[in-house]
Subunit: 341 residues, 4 copies
């Protein structure tokens, strides 16, 4: 254990919270996870026990008030993110918050303002973990080092193996805020530019229940960046073959594309076909390493007082894009980002 | 040679005309190429000599009037297609015509009407050769046999290694009518449905001259089919790595995608990278077999009096799509196909 | 048709003979196929009719004696090759002969001596068509241009989808002379060196009938080249997934490997696996282009009086290797090529 | 931390020892690493500090005598493995020992006898970590579940990016005992059978210093299994493109092959080629997960009193194969495993 580990409190011990707890406890040596909070006391306790975390609590204010805790990791439900950010900022804690900050811009702006008022003394990083994935980093590197010249066209494919429970869909904010938000972030990250206009085509193709809940299950959004780059993002809630996460970028001097990750490289040829196993099934398997890397990057940014790799503005922009994409769908027209939202 | 070969006259001995002449002379045994016409007499003569065609002429009417010639293959410049179709139909010749029939709907409709007036006695096939390519046929087969369930999302990538001469661009009708027209046809062919709405984003990204000529060099078009299927088509006039021709289709039970064709399968690993040679460079190399197959299919349709695989309506629809895509770009809005054109 | 086509007679109108006839008639313009001979008169006639060849005969001497015929293509059964080569050489005809020249070295040496006595006036090319395949040519190019440095290790995989009829096996000369002979040639071609030692392990693994016929159905041979390069060749008479034809070469500066050829590039992902269609099924589909190219190369060598790409010595060496490989199997020891055979 | 973690002492804090220490400390929760021993006191201390191990020592007997320590992980130099196994067995410790047990069969047999004398009360697992790699496990699964029928032919490719220092080569026991030993184990593991005969071709192709040290840098060994399966293993000390670790297995109903692992899936197409980054560079990157899994399996076997997945006989057999392979090279003949060794 290092001389001065970063002392951390984790708020929200659900699926993602438990994952971060595991990584903090076992994979990121420069930290000490001191306390876990969850409104479900049993969830907090069992998570703390599993990872030998000394304290657990039902009230996350116990984390924010704890004098030794330097940073918080917020993994609660989305509708509480903004307020906890505000409170944590006021208490002077560094903040790692899961995406999205909120489903509306007003809440986001208030949270970011609270962080700003700390005058640069606290860090806020948003959990867009895919930026830390080896495939996407390689694409970004190709852009930065001009391996494929200037970017012209980007395609992002992002499909889930199966939709979440319909109860979740109802409170998720819809496919654009819940699912495509990762891809909006990815588009900004890969191109390194801001979007000016979006256009959406979408429908209910596989799960009528999703339609009844007022959402769509399949969507394609076109983006026009300030630099003129054109991008498409396609999302489906149901890909029969599993989790499909690929990008493809054409530039003036070439193109780069990534494939999915697979559990093994074996190719089997039999009397019917030449085949391989399905890709890694879902985000927990597929993005394990990027979850570890994003927290490691946050810890390092705090410990060496350097800029976080995904800041508050990076948390706001994809929410705006998601809202605009939905408006485009509702009003059946291209929507410019400088409209009123 | 078969007992009763189909006797053919070829009109237009340019690049595509010469290719068809070669295939008729060497690869399609059930035909006899009797005469070649070209307004450039020398072009007609040299092509006839190369493939041992008995007659050549400067005036294509000599072909239309020749009593033994049963079918014509029209490879002249686009602006003459519609009129030659009308004339050939009146003379009772079966017609294979290169795409597009014309750059405006009025000319197309007049040509199709002339064919209709023959009362089903003559065949008209349009030269959308890519429908006969093994990769695309495999995708179509997957749709027809429901290997991937019902189609949801289609992506077509179609990029040229380098733009044609700027003089050609000027008279080409623009990227939508000249280049993307193949992809509009491909989208209809693969999905087996009609498009209801298009939206275009496009720009001049690599070749300013093309912009000065009033055209774009990079374009993405979104299509909404009557069945709800969403498609994107991306075109670039300049892909540094060569000819890029791929499709990808997501369905309710899976997905299918094609890769490019390569001159060989060799993979070289050296101290820098794991690499292979660039894809087949351009359409003459890439689509050789599909050019042979489309003419073979035409000959068989004529000889066995069966429907042609790409009829007059299949020639008209992509032109309408191209015109709508350009209007969408000009007016920066989604365009419905039932507007006035 | 060119001014002075090479006038050719084809001897043996079986499967390979018909293929060569088709290629000469339709794909290789610089030739004129004048006569086809087959001891089965009906086979000769029907083949001649199909490709519009003016003459057919039961007696191949009619070809050898025909004053206009400049070259013969020998596609008869193996046991007649050597004698027809001798006779054709004496009649001053250029000779393209299917592999192997013969199953014993004495016959081969007599045939080659007859060609030598013509004092360089006639060409003899042996039908090792795989040398003309795009994949293997690319590997050879990598060696010639030192893309992977000096060769160290070579692996050749060569498997048939299913064994030929047991009657064929009985007269075939065995797996080494009938099947692996292609791979012995390939090893010499790719490395550009002579083999000094072979060692064989083999067995009857899939088809007991083949064992009863005194042959093996699965074999691996190791080769040591004069330069020290080590190679392995594996053969199986039965690969459930079809025709498997690959090589892999390690050099001092890298490695190159080829994959099989497929009927299309489509990849299908469904609920079970990510799969593609089986490779091209057998040699007629897989090596079509290489059959065309080898005859084209022969015609050009004759017409421009240049060395043939696969000469008599290239026909003899693989037979010696096959005989040595069988001896190694029978005597369970490594066999040197400078032993008495 | 679990209620009753397995208490472990680690002997040898070099490259592999440090790796195991890291995994025990951070990735395998069911254990507690109590003490680290290394004859280099500083190495033991720094490794203990890095992973918060409470004790370190220069004398590994302090580990063997420690009453709380239940299991030892032996990572010392090869020439000490057998003796430490004997001593640890006498002290009743469970043993995980790096490969190979020893370079001679006598030492191995003495060590295994000591373990046997414990009467089944202690476990001995040998560190053939590659058996735990996802790719090879998938191949083994295909064999066990008869996905490809009965095995016929196996090819193992195993090449290092660059040779170790020549001082290491001199004491390594040679390429067969130091490097190919992994592949001998892999062959036994994948086929699930014993080898009866080996034949070796090998040479000094890339590093003359290795030849002067009495070793070879490139080797191919053929194996004949009792069941008749034929295998080849190729090793090179120097593959310009990095670490190359692949297998390929033909069975009666199909074939399975694995590819290398890569740092990312990105494919770049530029004006020269279609390329990807080199494979993961060496065994520490390539086999990280399999190192974790083998120790986890050992811990589980001890804790649940189940058979270890790689036992003492699995440690002996590859050494015998390596000695036989070297004899085959020296005497230039196939060597049977039932000869005197």
């Amino acid at each position: 254990m290092p001389a001065h580990p970063l002392k951390i409190g984790l708020i929200g011990a659900g699926r993602i919270g438990s994952l971060h707890a595991e990584h903090l406890a076992t994979r990121i040596p420069a930290t000490q996870l001191l306390m876990i909070a969850d409104s479900n006391e049993e969830a907090a306790r069992s998570c703390a026990e599993r990872y030998a975390v000394p304290h657990c609590t039902q009230d996350y204010m116990n984390i924010l008030r704890h004098p030794d805790i330097q940073a918080v990791v917020i993994c609660t439900s989305t509708n509480t993110h903004a307020q906890i950010i505000e409170e944590a900022a006021r208490m002077g804690k560094h903040i790692f918050c899961e995406k999205p900050i909120a489903l509306d811009l007003r809440s986001i702006d208030r949270a970011l303002a609270a962080v700003d008022q700390a005058g640069g003394k606290i860090k806020l990083q948003i959990g867009f973990n895919r930026r830390f994935d080896a495939n996407y980093r390689r694409v970004r590197q190709a852009v930065e080092q001009a391996e494929i010249g200037r970017p012209h066209l980007l395609h992002i494919t992002s499909r889930d193996p199966a939709p979440p429970p319909i109860e979740y869909i109802r409170v998720s904010g819809g496919i654009f805020l819940d699912m495509m938000i990762h891809d909006f972030d990815m588009a900004r990250f890969l191109i390194g530019d801001e979007v000016e206009e979006v256009f959406t085509l979408a429908g209910v193709m596989s799960d009528p229940d999703i339609g009844e809940a007022g959402d769509v299950d399949t969507a394609v959004v076109m983006l026009r960046f300030a630099s003129g780059v054109i991008a498409t993002i396609d999302n489906s809630r149901r890909a029969a073959y599993g989790y499909d996460q690929r990008v493809e970028l054409l530039g003036s001097a070439g193109a780069i594309r990534t494939d999915n990750n697979y559990p093994n490289t074996a190719i089997i040829s039999d009397g019917q076909s030449v085949h391989r196993d399905l890709p890694l099934h879902f985000f927990l398997e597929r993005y394990t390493e990027s979850f570890v890397r994003e927290l490691t990057a946050f810890v390092e940014a705090v410990q060496h007082d350097q800029p976080v790799p995904v800041n508050g503005q990076d948390g706001r922009a994809p929410v705006l894009l998601a809202i605009a994409a939905r408006r485009s769908l509702d009003e059946q027209r291209p929507v410019r980002l400088n409209e009123d939202f």
